[in-house]
Amino acid sequence: MISGLTPREARSRLNLMGRLLYDARSIDLWKRDTATLPRVFRSMRRRYRAFAQREIAPLALQADLDPPSVDIKGLFLKSAREGFQTELTPWPIGNARYRALFHSLIMAPALKAEEFCAACGGLGLALLAHDLGMAPLFASGDLRALFKWMRRIYREIRDGEPAIAAYAITEPNAGSDVEETQGASRARISCRARKAPGGWRISGTKVFISDGAVAKWITLFAALEKEGMESWTCFLLDKGMEGLSVGRSERKMGQRAADASELILEDVFVPHERVIGPLRGGWAINRNVLNFSRPVVGAIALGIARGAWERALDFCHQTRMGNRPLISYQDVQLELADMLAKIQAMRALVWQAVSYRVPFQTASSITKVFCSDTAWEVCNQAMAILGDHGFLHCHGVEKAARDARLTQIYEGTNQINRLAIVEGQLGAEFKIGDFYAP
């Protein structure tokens, strides 16, 4: 009966050439996808996954239920010992591989984000937010920032200090405004830098700062006195500075293991040497950091969705419904297949976005929007597959759904990112004469 042949049985009927052209091996998609990567990334992807399964996954549920009970700094140092927290730049500053950077500037963070967040979105973010905090030093193109500050911070980390960095842009009255051109021109900015002998004095408040409470270093953006967002300048602060304090830590729906805190600045003195990039260069640095980080957010969403899918698949294997394994039901298979197809599309988009020589606004925002929206859908599908187990914390699927929801909000809401997609292609696809008109 030919109709009953499995793909492998069917393949065996072909001659050698036919068999070589027909791949019916039982290899999971993760391995197949890994094999398509350049050699340097294959080993990195395996190492990220091994670390995530060994160090992150066992903490995931506890970290969500009781975030303070997990030692984030300890986890950061374990990750640092693997070299994962100092790999934005190559030797002599960091430990990124030249071969990797030659292929892609952000493939490594994207691979790391997927693997870490497949284990836990919150702990993954807590580790990844450090790269975001360091990104302005790199994206500013300021060699002094690289060789003086980035090298110093990376050295501290290699010496065993949890020198975590945080990225501070959002303000209480300027959330989406700091992510978009038109909003920025009319934003109500509260964080301002006033010129002082030997440097700048900064006052104001930043909110929702990932790793804000645990970070030692903060790349912070402030407008110059009596000027608007176009004067934004990037400063490197450290927690030892007088007048800098941590306000409340937010209580969130998901990604609870990752701290999001308020930073309060009361006349904080920042010397000239801590200005990153040129004065009034902050807006450009911020926009470009978002170009670098949004594909990584897409990868975070991808990881969270993959984690939910893997847990749902496990559940379907282990659970019997009406004396049959749940996985044997056709409708369940259809749902799982639909989810996997979406996940595969997300990964294809992320890998395509990071393959551009330099990340740019349109591709980055498309990746972020598509992946975060899709992850939210996939996680909710996973919850539905589990039926009345779906809402139980112990399975980790509902947690993934809560975690995924944040990816539609941070690094610019998906609405702002959609506008960014259009703005990014204004000179090409979208020729709108008065796009920037008030």
Partner: protein, 352 residues
């Protein structure tokens, strides 16, 4: 039931919800001050919003799924559930669970019974609903009112469904926690080898299922409408880009889409509730509502949260709680997939 009476119900429920439920939910904890819940439910019982099997109880007739819902239709119960859920979906689910448990008991054997109808390891099918399928061994998922004291279990028999009662101490059970949301309500897993004592006058499971599905939809709609009200208020006050955020098309689209979904579902819900006979068509309509209504309510809640951006994701505005509640509501039994499969089983539908 005439419009005036329904308005009076809605007013009573709204006043109670704003005074009592809002006070409980508004406390500085993730899901409200649950220590206040027993006294709140006691007041709901005294006010007649919550049903009890005791014929002398104020809500016995007209509380949520009181006796009147069998003769007058489910509208009054849905109005109460929607109003309650505008403040807290978990509290609304408590009233829903108490009402369904009490509906089966013609004698006040228990003060606060829970209804066990959904075996955890079994899919809902027309065959199961007709009592033609064995109930798979294993636990039941039960929506239980707080301080439940007895259980009504449905079992199929050659003569159709029969109901059996068990004291709380006769069954082993566990709270299904920690979970996503609906923390105020009791969602438990019950296991019993003991068949219990059969009671006369079992209502058709279809009667109960229809009310259950309509109730879940009403709670979902109420919860989402509460979320939408918060989002609209926020959007009118919050400035972004030099203007109130509700002047931005992106925000208007979110709010408008949410309102369109909710208006559609709500209209369908109350139209479905007009059907006072428990026909197969009425049950199917409630199934359609449960499948699409809870999903649209969940999407609308998610849109409302998005309007607030980062603030929506934090606990402060309670929108994250509403979204957690909507996510949980959507996964309560019976699953949308089972209902969809039943709706697609045309031959079977025609036979029945």
């Amino acid at each position: 039931m005439d419009r005036e009476t329904l308005d009076a119900f809605a007013h009573l429920a709204r006043t109670f919800a704003r005074k009592e439920v809002r006070n409980m939910v508004g406390r500085d904890t993730r899901d409200g001050d649950l220590a206040l819940l027993p006294s709140l439910l006691e007041k709901a019982l005294e006010t007649g919003l919550m049903t009890s099997p005791d014929p002398h109880s104020p809500g016995h007739e007209l509380g949520v799924w009181g006796r009147a819902c069998l003769t007058e239709g489910p509208t009054a119960s849905l109005v109460i559930l929607e109003e309650m859920a505008r403040e807290c979906a978990g509290v609304a689910l408590c009233l829903h669970a108490a009402g369904l448990g009490a509906l089966e008991l013609d004698e006040p054997i228990f003060k606060r019974p829970a209804l066990a109808f959904f075996p955890r390891n079994q899919r809902l099918t027309w065959e199961f609903l007709d009592g033609e399928e064995e109930v798979a061994p294993g636990p039941f998922t039960v929506l239980a009112p707080p301080q439940w004291d007895g259980l009504v279990i449905y079992r199929p028999s050659p003569r159709g469904w029969t109901a059996h009662v068990l004291e709380r101490q006769e069954v082993s059970w566990e709270d299904l926690t920690p979970r996503t949301g609906l923390i105020a309500s009791g969602i438990i897993q019950v296991h019993s080898e003991n068949p219990g004592v059969q009671i006369p006058g079992t209502r058709s499971p279809r009667v109960l299922l229809r009310r259950h599905l309509l109730g879940l939809t009403a709670i979902g709609v109420g919860n989402a409408l509460g979320a939408l009200a918060t989002a609209e208020e926020y959007a009118a006050q919050r400035y972004q880009g030099g203007a109130a955020i509700d002047s931005h098309a992106a925000v208007r689209l979110l709010l408008g889409e949410a309102r369109a979904w909710l208006t559609g579902v709500r209209n369908q819900l109350y139209m479905a509730a007009q059907e006072d006979r428990d026909t197969r068509e009425a049950l199917e309509r409630s199934m359609v509502l449960a499948v699409k209504g809870t999903e649209h309510a969940w999407r609308a809640t998610s849109h409302a949260l998005q309007v607030l951006g980062g603030y929506g994701y934090m606990e402060d505005y309670r929108l994250e709680k509403r979204l957690r509640d909507a996510m949980t509501l959507k996964t309560l039994p019976p699953s949308a997939r089972d209902l969809t499969l039943m709706l697609g089983h045309r031959e079977r539908r025609e036979r029945t």
